[in-house]
C-alpha cells in the first residue's frame, strides 16, 4: 500500500519533496533534483511546488488531529496500559514513515532528539532546520541576482528599478506564506503559542515588503501625489470591507475552534469507549457468565476495579519501577489468585533497588500467607522515602504462634525473615487473637544512588 501523500515535516522549504519521495517510493534526492530541473525548465517546477505546497496537507496536521486529546479532562491522561493505545499507535507509523528515507541525507538526524512524544517531528523541523531554510533563501536570492547580472551582461535592459520592487514583493509573499504554514502547525501544537509574536512580526514584515514593492512599482507610472491619494482611498475601502467582514470572519474562526474542540472531544470519547469496551464490558460479560459463583464475581469485580483505578487515578509521575507500583502489582496478583481483597495504602515512594525489591517480595509472601490462612481483607500499609521503607501487612485471622511454626515450613522463615535480613532489613511478626501483623523494614543503603 502506498503511503498517503503528505508533506514531510523535515523538509527544507515545505516538505513537498520529502512527501513526494515517500509517496512514490523514490529517493528523496532524486525528487529534489527532478524538482530543480523542472524549476529551471521555464519555472514549471516552481509552480508545481507551490501548487503541492498549498494543497497537500502536512504530515503533522494528520498526526496531530487524533492525538491531541490529552489536556482537557483529568481522566483523559494517556493511560499506561499498552493495549489502549492501539488506535493511536496504528496511526503513528504512517506519518512517522518519512524519517527513515530522509534520514541518510541529513547526518544530524542520527542523534535522537528530545523525548517530545508525538510532536517531535514538527518541533525538530521548527528548531533545527530553519537555519538550512535561511541558507536556501539566501541561495535563491543570490541565484536571482546572478541571473539579473547575466541578463544585463547579455544585453537585456533590466533596470534595478524594476527588479527590486518585484523581488521585495516576492520575498514578502514567501514570508507571509511560510508564516501560514507555521501558524497552522503552531496553532495545532500549542494554543498558548509562544512563537506568536515572532510569527506576527514575520507576517507584518512580509506585508510591508509586498506593499512597498507594489507601491514602488506603481509609483514608477503615476506621480507621488496621486499615489498618496490612492493609498488613502484604498485604505479607507479596505477598512470598510474589514469592518463589514470582521463579524463574519470572527464567526468563521469560532466555528473552526468549536469544530476542532468537538473533534478533540470525539477522539477522547473514542479513546474512553475503546478502553471501556476492552476492560469493563468484558468483565461485565464474564460476571454474567459466572453469576453462580460469588467468589468469582468478587474476584472479577476487584480485578476490574483495580485496573480501572490504575487507568483513572494512577500518579502520572509515578513511573513503573518504583516500590509503590511494584507492591500494588504484587498485591493485585495475590488478590486475583486468592480472591481476598487486599487494601494497599501507600505513603511516599522509593526507587526499586535490590533491597526494596526484596521488601516487596517479602511483603508479597506475607500477603499470600494472610490471604491463605486468615482470609478476609488484608491491609497493607507502605511508607517509603529516601531513607528506606517500611511495610505492614495485617490480617484479621485467628492468628498463630510464629515460634510454633515447624522448622520445615519455609514460607515465613525463608521468604520473609531471611530474605529481609539478607538485604540488611528486618522482619517482625506479631500474632494474636485479633489477627497477625507482619512488619517489614528495609533501610536504603547509603552507597546506593537515589535517582530513579
Amino acid at each position: 500500500m502506498k503511503p498517503p501523500l503528505l508533506r514531510s515535516p523535515d523538509g527544507l522549504v515545505a516538505g513537498v519533496c520529502g512527501g513526494l519521495a515517500v509517496h512514490l517510493g523514490v529517493r528523496l534526492r532524486v525528487v529534489r533534483v527532478l524538482m530543480v530541473l523542472l524549476a529551471l525548465a521555464g519555472g514549471a517546477g516552481v509552480f508545481l511546488y507551490a501548487w503541492l505546497w498549498i494543497f497537500v496537507p502536512m504530515a503533522s496536521d494528520r498526526l496531530v488531529a487524533p492525538l491531541r486529546f490529552a489536556p482537557p479532562a483529568p481522566t483523559l491522561r494517556p493511560p499506561p496500559a499498552p493495549a489502549l493505545f492501539l488506535p493511536a499507535a496504528a496511526a503513528l507509523p504512517s506519518p512517522a514513515a518519512p524519517h527513515p528515507p530522509s534520514a541518510p541525507s541529513e547526518p544530524g538526524n542520527a542523534a535522537p532528539p528530545v523525548a517530545g512524544a508525538f510532536v517531535r517531528p514538527a518541533r525538530r523541523a521548527g528548531g533545527r532546520l530553519r537555519p538550512g531554510r535561511k541558507e536556501l533563501l539566501l541561495g535563491v536570492g543570490l541565484l536571482l541576482l546572478a541571473g539579473v547580472f547575466i541578463a544585463q551582461e547579455l544585453g537585456f535592459a533590466v533596470s534595478l528599478r524594476q527588479v527590486l520592487p518585484v523581488a521585495a514583493a516576492g520575498v514578502g509573499a514567501v514570508l507571509a506564506w511560510s508564516q501560514l504554514d507555521d501558524a497552522r502547525r503552531e496553532g495545532l501544537r500549542n494554543k498558548a503559542g509562544a512563537d506568536r509574536a515572532a510569527g506576527l512580526a514575520r507576517l507584518l514584515l512580509g506585508l510591508v515588503l509586498v506593499m512597498v514593492g507594489v507601491l514602488v512599482m506603481v509609483s514608477g507610472a503615476i506621480s507621488w501625489d496621486l499615489t498618496w491619494a490612492t493609498l488613502l482611498a484604498t485604505g479607507a475601502v479596505l477598512a470598510g470591507v474589514a469592518l463589514v467582514l470582521a463579524p463574519w470572519a470572527l464567526r468563521f474562526w469560532k466555528d473552526f475552534e468549536d469544530e476542532r474542540a468537538g473533534r478533540v472531544r470525539e477522539a477522547a470519547r473514542a479513546e474512553i469507549a475503546a478502553h471501556l469496551h476492552d476492560s469493563v464490558l468484558q468483565t461485565l460479560a464474564l460476571i454474567q457468565n459466572r453469576a453462580g459463583s460469588e467468589q468469582d464475581v468478587v474476584r472479577l469485580a476487584r480485578a476490574q476495579e483495580r485496573e480501572l483505578r490504575h487507568w483513572l487515578y494512577a500518579d502520572p509521575a509515578g513511573h513503573s519501577g518504583n516500590l509503590t507500583e511494584r507492591l500494588r502489582a504484587l498485591a493485585g496478583e495475590v488478590e486475583d489468585s486468592y480472591g481476598h481483597p487486599v487494601e494497599v495504602v501507600a505513603v511516599g515512594d522509593a526507587p526499586l533497588t535490590a533491597g526494596q525489591e526484596a521488601l516487596a517480595q517479602a511483603a508479597r509472601e506475607a500477603i499470600v500467607n494472610a490471604a491463605k490462612h486468615a482470609g478476609g481483607t488484608v491491609s497493607v500499609y507502605l511508607e517509603a522515602g529516601p531513607s528506606g521503607s517500611e511495610a505492614f501487612i495485617r490480617d484479621r485471622g485467628p492468628g498463630f504462634d510464629p515460634l510454633a511454626v515447624p522448622a520445615d515450613r519455609l514460607g515465613i522463615r525463608e521468604s520473609i525473615t531471611t530474605r529481609m535480613q539478607r538485604h540488611g532489613g528486618a522482619a517482625t511478626i506479631r500474632s494474636g487473637p485479633d489477627g497477625t501483623e507482619v512488619h517489614l523494614k528495609m533501610p536504603e543503603q547509603e552507597n546506593r544512588s537515589h535517582d530513579g
Binding site: L312, Y313, A314, V345, V347, S379, Y381
Partner: protein, 225 residues
C-alpha cells in the same frame, strides 16, 4: 453490630439522608444500614440534596463525592450549600474515588469523615454512629492521604500549629493507615478510645483549616495532569 441498644451511645437512633446519583447504590446502602439508622430522605443531584437536607435536617448525610448538577462541585458543593445548618447536620463522604484532590476537597468543605464505597454494612453503620456523636471517621486510605500530605516526619515542619501533626497524631494516623480500628489503636498506644477520637478529630480539624499551601499543591499534584 447487633440490634441491642447501646446505652452509652447518646443518639439511639440516627436520621440519615443518602445522597448518591446511583439508585442501585442508594437502595443497597439503605438495606445495609443498621436498624437504628433511619433513612429520612434520598437525593441524586446537588440541588435535590441541598433541598432534602434543608427540609429533613438529618443527623448525618451520607454524601457521594461525585454528584451531577449544581455548578459541578459535587459533594463539596452540597456541604457548602448547607453550611448554615451548623453542627446539627454532619456529613460523611462516601466515594469510589481514589483521587486525593476529591477527598481533600470534600473534607476541607466540612465533611467529618471519608470512607470508600466498598465498606461493609456494619462498617458504614459504625461510621454513621461515630459521625453522629461528633467524631471523625478516617478510613485507612484517608489516613494515608493525610500522612502523604502532611509528611511522615512530625518535627521537621516549620509552619504553624495547624500545619503539622503532633507525634501522637502521627502515630494514630499510621495505625489507622495500617488497618487498625479505633479500639485497636487505643490498645496499641495504651490510651482510651476517647483519646484516639480526640486525636483523629484534631487531625481532621488541621486537614480542614490548615492554610498550608503544600496541602493544596500536594492534592493538585496528585490530580492527573
Amino acid at each position: 453490630m447487633t440490634d441491642e441498644p447501646v446505652p452509652n451511645n447518646p443518639p439511639s437512633t440516627v436520621s440519615v439522608v443518602v445522597v448518591d446519583d446511583h439508585a442501585i447504590f442508594r437502595s443497597g446502602l439503605r438495606s445495609d444500614l443498621d436498624s437504628r439508622i433511619r433513612v429520612v430522605g434520598e437525593a441524586a443531584t446537588v440541588e435535590e440534596a441541598v433541598a432534602v437536607v434543608r427540609a429533613r435536617r438529618p443527623d448525618v448525610v451520607l454524601l457521594d463525592v461525585h454528584l451531577p448538577g449544581g455548578r459541578g462541585g459535587g459533594g463539596a458543593e452540597v456541604i457548602a450549600g448547607c453550611g448554615d445548618l451548623g453542627a446539627s447536620t454532619r456529613f460523611l463522604a462516601l466515594s469510589v474515588s481514589d483521587s486525593a484532590e476529591d477527598v481533600v476537597a470534600v473534607i476541607r468543605a466540612g465533611a467529618r469523615g471519608y470512607v470508600t464505597k466498598t465498606i461493609s454494612g456494619a462498617g458504614i453503620s459504625d461510621a454513621v454512629f461515630r459521625i453522629a456523636s461528633g467524631d471523625a471517621v478516617f478510613s485507612p486510605r484517608l489516613a494515608g492521604f493525610v500522612l502523604d500530605a502532611f509528611g511522615t516526619a512530625a518535627v521537621a515542619s516549620t509552619g504553624t500549629e495547624l500545619d503539622r501533626l503532633s507525634a501522637r497524631e502521627l502515630e494514630v494516623m499510621r495505625l489507622i493507615a495500617r488497618g487498625y480500628s479505633y479500639k485497636e489503636v487505643a490498645k496499641e498506644l495504651f490510651i482510651s478510645v476517647k483519646t484516639v477520637e480526640t486525636h483523629v478529630s484534631a487531625v481532621l480539624r488541621k486537614l480542614q483549616l490548615s492554610s498550608r499551601h503544600e496541602l493544596t499543591r500536594w492534592a493538585a499534584e496528585r490530580r492527573l495532569l
